[in-house]
């Protein structure tokens, strides 16, 4: 029990926080007790060494992290900047929607030019139909009623095939 009480005071003894009477008491005990003396020496070694280690240093990037965070917080706390920020977001959304609508308009207005039933293609089909008619080949066509080919024949001006 006495050992524990003495050991408890070791750091206070090392740091010079004890009264003269307490110091003497510990000195006396350390002279008599080998085990406590060993503990004391080890503890003193660790305690003194650790104090001498240099201070930890922050990372050099810490200032930039802090600066960025402050800028973000300023933006958040400034109502005018918040409004400008929101307006920018709104404008971006409007522009995106506008582009999509315009693309749809263009598609519906001029899309037929690119469709399979365009004039140029019709001419090609018509020409092929004429050739087929000339040689009487259309009589041998087996065009299913719902096939795309049926529509092509109908749209060609000189079509006299079975479907017609």
């Amino acid at each position: 029990m006495k050992h524990k009480k003495i050991q408890k005071k070791f750091l206070l003894y090392i740091d010079g926080d004890l009264s003269v009477a307490e110091k003497l008491m510990i000195d006396q005990h350390l002279n008599e007790c080998v085990s406590c003396k060993k503990h004391f020496e080890e503890l003193a070694d660790i305690w003194m060494k650790e104090r001498k280690f240099e201070k930890p240093l922050p990372s050099p990037a810490l200032w930039y992290d802090l600066k960025n965070r402050m800028e973000k917080e300023t933006e958040r706390s400034n109502p005018l900047r918040a409004i400008v920020g929101n307006a920018k977001l709104l404008l971006n959304s409007v522009i995106t929607v506008g582009v999509v609508v315009f693309a749809i308009f263009l598609g519906s207005r001029f899309g037929s030019v690119l469709s399979p039933q365009s004039a140029a293609q019709n001419v090609t089909y018509a020409q092929s139909a004429n050739i087929r008619d000339e040689f009487g080949m259309s009589y041998f066509d087996a065009v299913p009623p719902n096939s795309l080919a049926k529509d092509l024949f109908i749209t060609s001006p000189n079509n006299k095939g079975l479907q017609k």
Binding site: K9, L12, S59, R69, M70
Partner: protein, 188 residues
């Protein structure tokens, strides 16, 4: 630059002084935060909180104490609050139940003969023991041992009487001695 001039610029909201102010105090703030949190990332996060708090509430600094005392006070409060929040989060996330295990793991890491104990291991042992102290004792010992502040300064930072600080440090050192001797007994 004198403290008064820095303060004047800070109170005027002159942002050009921020970097200078940061350079002046960052080592001090980081030192306390690192000792209080024992973790580099958490310490850096706390340092940011401290500077933002200082810049935002500089006008509430009454100048009846040193600027460094006020900054220490903010640093200590922020670290204590962070540590409380962390404890709650750990408790809720079940990490709390593994805290004891972590301590044992730390102890097992340093199972080396005294001659081979390296600097990091000594730090681990002492810092580990300091971390187990109650918050007030831990704060007092960090400010006294590592920041080398007087009892008077610590009493101002912690808003306690000088005798209360003396008593805290006394108990802190008694507790640390018990813990450190126990560590040594376990390892040998």
């Amino acid at each position: 630059m004198e403290e008064k001039i820095i303060l004047e610029h800070l109170k005027n909201g002159d942002k050009f002084i921020y970097k200078y102010f940061y350079d002046q105090y960052v080592r001090m703030v980081y030192g306390v935060c690192f000792r209080m949190t024992s973790n580099k990332e958490e310490a850096e996060d706390a340092v940011q909180d401290v500077f933002i708090k200082v810049f935002n509430s500089i006008n509430s600094f009454r100048e009846d104490s040193k600027l460094s005392t006020w900054i220490y006070q903010i640093s200590v409060n922020i670290c204590i609050n962070k540590s409380r929040r962390k404890k709650v989060i750990n408790f809720l996330s079940l990490d709390f139940w593994e805290e004891e295990k972590g301590e044992k793991e730390m102890a097992a890491d340093s199972l080396t003969p005294r001659e081979e104990i390296e600097r990091s291991e000594i730090q681990k042992i002492v810092q580990g023991a300091i971390n187990t102290l109650p918050a007030k004792q831990k704060t007092a010992i960090i400010l006294s041992r590592y920041e080398e502040l007087s009892y008077k300064e610590i009493s101002k930072i912690m808003e306690l009487s000088i005798s209360a600080v003396e008593s805290l440090l006394f108990r802190a050192k008694e507790n640390l001695a018990k813990k450190l001797i126990r560590y040594k007994e376990i390892f040998q």
